[in-house]
Symmetry: C2
Subunit: 390 residues, 2 copies
């Protein structure tokens, strides 16, 4: 995949079902790092540790486990996160400060560090340039599919690569919608330049998806740039091309996360335009995309525009109900707040039967625009989440 990066993934016995649950990414040389973490005030030990580690601007290895979130585990949890990074650093002969850690899974249970210790030598031995798909599997919890997206771009006759791996599928084993994403690139960049580029890409992607409105204690996005391609971010055109790759990768991964949402059968983009401001547009798009009534109607393939309008109305944003238009793809179902009739409903219902479509709410008040990706809310979502720990 990406020059100068190796990865691995294996089963260390953390997950009860014996699936892969321990992953490792290593760069040949220390890489510049940028990071975005959960805004939840309850933060897992690995998040707290990585925040400190990333302050140095450098990272060379990431060790990740699934099956246990190492969250709400108190001082022992922090000691365990540090021990996990120490094991990786020792096994790879790196400075401990160059190792980041991530965990996802059950909350409130002690991390089985001994299992990680036993497994690590084999994990390190299996590191390879082709190990990314094993890594992607090792970080899955309720995900049904591994999620990897890669892009290449050329600058002055040389090529750089950007590879992103993500996990997330709604709430996780069994506690929440943990979303982890790791991006490797062989372009050269410094941490300070990388950080705003990552923030921009996250705002376009992971900050525009919702499965169940719950924000994890463990959400982490890390970008490692090791410079092995010989291309520098400072070369003419490099920054634009890298940003484009990063944006595309994160948007694609974000959509893969929603498509793989727990119990989800549909990927729906909720687009709001014509709002008084972008912030008002965002309020409405977010409220509609999170409405249980709207999401259950999606599952039922019911073009229930009343629920869309009602959610918009309670979002806190300015709107005039008698001006609103609502579209399902290009089918206008509501014009000036009124139903467009049986023919429009029939066509909109046809759109709803497809697996991916968009819904546009046009307020006709201003130039504010925003959009979110969401999924439907199914019987399987409840089944998956009701009985997880039993």
């Amino acid at each position: 995949m990406c020059q100068g990066f190796k990865a691995a993934g294996m089963a260390a016995g953390i997950k009860k079902n014996g699936n892969k649950d321990l992953g490792l990414i290593v760069s040949e040389v220390p890489a510049a790092v940028a990071a975005v973490f959960t805004k939840n005030k309850v933060q897992a030990a690995p998040v707290l540790l990585d925040k400190e580690r990333c302050k140095t601007g450098k990272c060379q290895a990431i060790i990740v486990n699934s099956g246990n979130a190492n969250c709400c585990t108190g001082p022992q949890g922090m000691a365990d996160a540090i021990e996990m990074s120490r094991l990786a650093a020792a096994g790879l002969s790196l400075s401990e400060n160059l190792v980041c850690v991530a965990s996802t899974g059950v909350i409130g249970q002690a991390l089985p560090v001994a299992k990680i210790e036993s497994a690590f030598p084999e994990l390190a031995r299996s590191l390879s340039e082709d190990g990314f798909s094993d890594f992607a599997e090792a970080i899955m919890t309720t995900d049904t599919k591994p999620k990897i997206v890669s892009r290449k771009a050329a600058v002055s006759g040389k090529t750089f690569t950007v590879t992103g791996i993500a996990k997330g599928a709604g709430m996780i084993c069994p506690d929440m919608a943990t979303m982890l994403c790791f991006v490797c690139t062989d372009i050269a960049a410094d941490s300070a330049a990388l950080q705003p580029m990552l923030q921009k890409a996250v705002d376009l992607s992971f900050n525009r998806i919702t499965i169940d409105g719950d924000t994890s204690t463990n959400d982490t996005v890390l970008v490692l740039a090791n410079g092995i391609s010989g291309i520098s971010m400072n070369q003419s055109g490099a920054q634009e091309k890298f940003q484009k790759c990063l944006d595309e990768i994160l948007v694609e991964l974000a959509k893969m996360v929603v498509r793989d949402g727990e119990g989800a059968t549909k990927l729906v983009e909720v687009i709001v335009r014509g709002a008084v401001s972008a912030s008002d547009a965002k309020k409405i798009a977010y409220t509609v995309a999170n409405s249980n009534l709207f999401k259950t109607a999606l599952f039922g393939e019911d073009a229930n525009w009343g629920r869309i309008l009602a959610a918009a109305g309670r979002s806190g944003a300015s709107l005039d109900p008698q001006k609103v238009d609502i579209f399902f793809n290009d089918i206008r179902m509501v014009k000036d707040g009124l139903w467009c009739g049986a023919e429009a409903e029939k066509n909109a219902t046809r759109v709803l039967k497809t697996p991916e479509f968009n819904i546009t709410v046009d307020l006709k008040l201003g130039a504010g625009e925003a959009s979110y990706w969401t999924c439907d809310f199914s019987i399987d979502y409840v089944k998956i989440n009701a009985d997880y720990r039993s």
Copy 2:
């Protein structure tokens, strides 16, 4: 029930299933009125009409239909709401200004006024002091039970009565959680005195419940006070006693609404204490009570405290995860942010198997308190709401 009030309910053919769908309450004399309406910016025609009517401070009759919300119906919807009030006024020989109107049901379809017109003479004929249970049935949509609560109190040797009737069960036929509540009392009061008393009772009751986080376009609470008991609100002790009755009735009705929540199997009070402020406590209680992850765990009878803590953490309120205690009834499951062990979990799980219990989150930061009633989130909720219109 209440002196000087009669009620009736019948099937007028608005609901497809032939159930009762038209209700009427009439006072012998014009009554003082107080009202609270939905804060949704999309408001149904009857809500807009009642807001105008209530400005006079007087109301003598309320006509209510279920099966159609008369919402998002444009100018025709307002004309239909006015016509519905005109029919009632004419049939009862009252001034049209003394009639309030409420509707609940499908959004965006024209109100079948002709059916109301045909049915009205029979409805008026069947008015009786014992008609409140028919009325309560006539305003139901996805409710499984009618909801009536009555209280009496004595002042200076005379007795006054307060009777409340409510409907609401999550989202409604098929669009949202319409909550309607009508309170009749034979105490004498003026509208200006009644309004803050109603607002206080609503803040204690309907503003502290959530089934699915969606706010209806049609929510309406009306209180009619006709004075027939001969007791005045100005008499010594009357105001306190009336407020107590009103509070108790609305709290009881609110709990009945949650208990009857679509697909609900449990009524759970989420109590937050020890917050920095009451507003912080409210943020946390509301976020937990609305979390799909938390609510699906309730359905699964899983004492999933991690989801509670994670929801608290994303609420925006101040908290220190290492100080938080969590109780299921009186069982402490989490102390200082850490799990209390297998014995506590076993006892908490026993609590979760009961139909009604409370969960307390103690932040140990200050004196802020708040609570919400919520229900679990079941497979039936999704079934009820996915396929409603088909």
